[in-house]
């Protein structure tokens, strides 16, 4: 039984193997068809559908999508002051979160990568990653409690005669910074860890003070990693709408506008949804110039 099956199977399988061996291109295309289909159909395809549906309109009463081609949504997007304001606000929030993350992450990463004892380093990295194990919602609601009236923030600032920021735009920036910080620390940590000691020694030997060494040696070598981390913090902040709903008070970001339009005016939501896509493509192109994408 087995021997007959083998005898029958041998020649076609062998022939197939032979063909594949002789034709590397065929081999490659067979291997890549499935993942490329996934990328093209599911990923780029859904983006294309998003873009196309932004050109449709809705019936004003039943909010049924009417498939009539029009550029009204984009026209509205650029002419309505509130949309412009919200788009600028969202980009501002994303930039602020990115800057704060970079500022906080650098000293932390410097400590974990260069100052802490080598045996402790893996543990510290794990500690940085632990917040990522907890649910996003739990963390944001924790911030709601911290920032609420008479909460932890108020209590800690009270002795200084200050009060917490309350719910609003600053609260959203703080909570988002907390959420995405690990994504910034990790690439910087890796870059600092790989920084050769002898470069720092050489700088010192040539009379460079720590500040000068930092500016001329460390920073240029770590900057691509900061840029890589910023791709995460920027794009994650730009797309977020839940954090701002919970701690942002009445603040609206692009995500909130998409959410509030998605049920009644799907085409408008799609038009709004293309904004972050465009912004992030521009951001990625800018980051590519720093070499960040090769250190991702």
């Amino acid at each position: 039984m087995t021997s007959t099956a083998q005898a029958a199977g041998r020649s076609p399988v062998r022939r197939l193997a032979g063909t594949l061996h002789r034709r590397p291109r065929l081999r490659l295309s067979l291997l890549l068809t499935a993942p490329l289909l996934w990328l093209a159909v599911l990923y780029l395809g859904s983006l294309a559908v998003l873009f196309v549906s932004a050109f449709w309109t809705t019936d004003s009463f039943t909010s049924e999508v009417v498939k009539v081609w029009s550029t009204d949504n984009f026209h509205e997007l650029f002419t309505t002051p509130v949309f412009r304001q919200v788009i600028l606000r969202s980009i501002g929030v994303a930039l602020a979160v990115t800057a704060l993350c970079a500022l906080i992450a650098f000293p932390v990463a410097f400590f974990t990568a260069r100052i802490a004892r080598p045996t402790w380093r893996p543990l510290l990295v794990v500690a940085i990653l632990t917040p990522l194990w907890a649910s996003y919602l739990v963390k944001v609601y924790a911030w709601r409690l911290i920032l609420s009236q008479g909460g932890l923030a108020d209590w800690m600032l009270e002795p200084f005669g200050l009060s917490g920021p309350g719910f609003g735009l600053p609260a959203a920036v703080i909570a988002l910074t907390y959420l995405w910080l690990p994504y910034m620390i990790l690439p910087i940590h890796t870059a600092l860890e790989q920084l050769p000691d002898n470069l720092l020694d050489a700088s010192a030997d040539l009379g460079g003070r720590p500040a000068r060494t930092f500016r001329s040696v460390v920073l240029p070598m770590v900057l691509p990693s900061v840029a890589a981390g910023s791709v995460f913090t920027f794009s994650l902040s730009l797309g977020d709408y839940i954090t701002v709903q919970i701690v942002g008070g009445k603040t609206q970001l692009i995500g909130n506008l998409v959410y509030s339009n998605i049920e009644l005016n799907l085409p408008m939501a799609a038009a709004l949804g293309t904004v972050p896509v465009v912004v992030i493509v521009v951001y990625l192109l800018a980051m590519r110039r720093t070499g960040a994408l090769s250190s991702l």
Partner: protein, 399 residues
């Protein structure tokens, strides 16, 4: 029985064809945007055999099978008695309900007035033969043939219950006690940063209701029928209010936590939220201000594409049967629809607290309705601002 099921199906197909025809004939203003001309659907004339299951869309707390609280269960008995397995989906907003109903996967929905007219006009909701719902005869007359649940005397659903949007305030921080909605509009600055409001375009009606008495020269009759001038006045008022708002709420848990911590001290609420907030120890009070209030009246509506219409009819009868209607009303905190439910509540004063039979009280409540171009208050010399514009304005108000 087969016939009764194919009729609505055929009607639904016809509606679909009409809708696609409308879509392709690029005439811009389709007929449905000028007024309420629901597609000509026929109500079922008699009940057939139950289908073994029913898919419902409901507000949180309307379809409880004991999984949230083992003591709160009116679904299991229904399943036992009718053999209809209940699958329910909780929707967070009227807009979500409309969207879900459009999928055609659901048999019935507990729609509020700001969803119901849209569902009727788009042909997603079928007319209901109230003769097939024995408990309907005991429904409060104030809930029958309302502008939000019927068209030309034809009911499009079975009333479930009603409630008012109340003004809630923190009794320690807001003194003297407010008596008017002006506390959240013209006098809101007194609590700058701690005012809250319901996060939905329909809240514009609350401002209109206040303007109705605060600025009589605007001649607002119905807060859901606003011409451009009246609408602009309401939007202006809300933009001014927005400067004093700490946060808008749509999630009732968020409002409870905000009133508990003191982040919000005054704003709109529902009776059930007020009760829960008091239970959690916060010093709050909720009442209907002197101008009256907006409110909601929910209706169980049948999908025009229902795959399980007989089970859905059974459900509509079950949910307003005296005992179940009392249970759901007490759990949710609203006035029941069935007159006999008041005898079945565990708290004997429940119906008094919620003014169930007090038609005078409900005269002051403007139930949520869907604003359309054709003014709902009967004016024909002007066009009213349709709901889509309300949605845009709401985005601008929040800024």
């Amino acid at each position: 029985m087969r016939l009764t099921r194919t009729l609505p199906a055929a009607a639904a197909v016809a509606v679909l064809l009409a809708a696609t025809a409308c879509g392709s004939s690029d005439s811009g203003g389709s007929s449905s945007s000028t007024g309420l001309n629901p597609p000509d659907l026929k109500a079922q004339s008699k009940l057939g055999k139950t289908e073994g299951q029913v898919n419902l869309i409901a507000w949180a707390g309307y379809v409880e099978d004991g999984s949230n609280d083992p003591k709160v269960d009116w679904v299991s008995d229904f399943e036992k008695q009718t053999g209809c397995q209940v699958n329910s989906k909780v929707a967070a907003s009227s807009d979500e309900m409309v969207k879900l109903m459009k999928t055609g996967q659901y048999d019935a929905v507990s729609a509020s007035g700001d969803a119901s007219l849209r569902l009727i006009a788009s042909g997603d909701a079928a007319p209901v033969n109230t003769g097939l719902v024995p408990n309907y005869k005991n429904v409060f007359s104030g809930l029958k043939n309302g502008g939000w649940n019927s068209v030309d005397g034809q009911m499009y659903g079975i009333p479930h219950g009603r409630g008012a949007n109340l003004l809630m305030y923190n009794t320690e921080k807001v003194t003297p006690a407010p008596t008017s909605w002006s506390a959240v509009f013209d006098d809101a600055a007194a609590h700058k940063g701690h005012v809250t409001a319901y996060d939905s375009p329909i809240y514009i009606a609350d401002a209109a209701l206040y303007l109705k008495s605060a600025r009589p020269e605007l001649k607002i009759k119905d807060p859901y029928a606003l011409d451009q001038k009246q609408f602009d006045a309401a939007v202006d008022l809300l933009k001014k209010q927005s400067a004093n708002v700490g946060e808008y709420w749509s999630d009732y848990l968020k409002e409870i936590s905000a009133f508990k911590s003191g982040d919000s001290v005054i704003g709109t609420t529902w009776q059930v939220i007020a009760n829960l907030t008091q239970d959690e120890g916060a010093k709050v009070k909720a009442f209907v201000p002197k101008e009256g209030s907006t409110g909601w009246s929910d209706t169980w509506m049948l999908s025009a594409k229902a795959k399980h219409p007989n089970c859905a009819y059974k459900w509509m009868d079950w949910i307003i049967s005296p005992k179940v209607n009392a249970q759901v009303a007490e759990y949710f905190g609203e006035a029941p629809a069935n007159t006999e439910a008041c005898a079945e509540t565990s708290d004997k004063s429940f119906c008094d607290t919620f003014h169930a039979a007090d038609e005078g009280y409900w005269k002051n409540i403007a139930f949520w309705n869907t604003p359309i171009e054709q003014c709902l208050d009967g004016r024909t010399d002007v066009k009213c601002v349709p709901y889509a514009k309300w949605v845009q304005a709401w985005t601008e108000i929040k800024g």
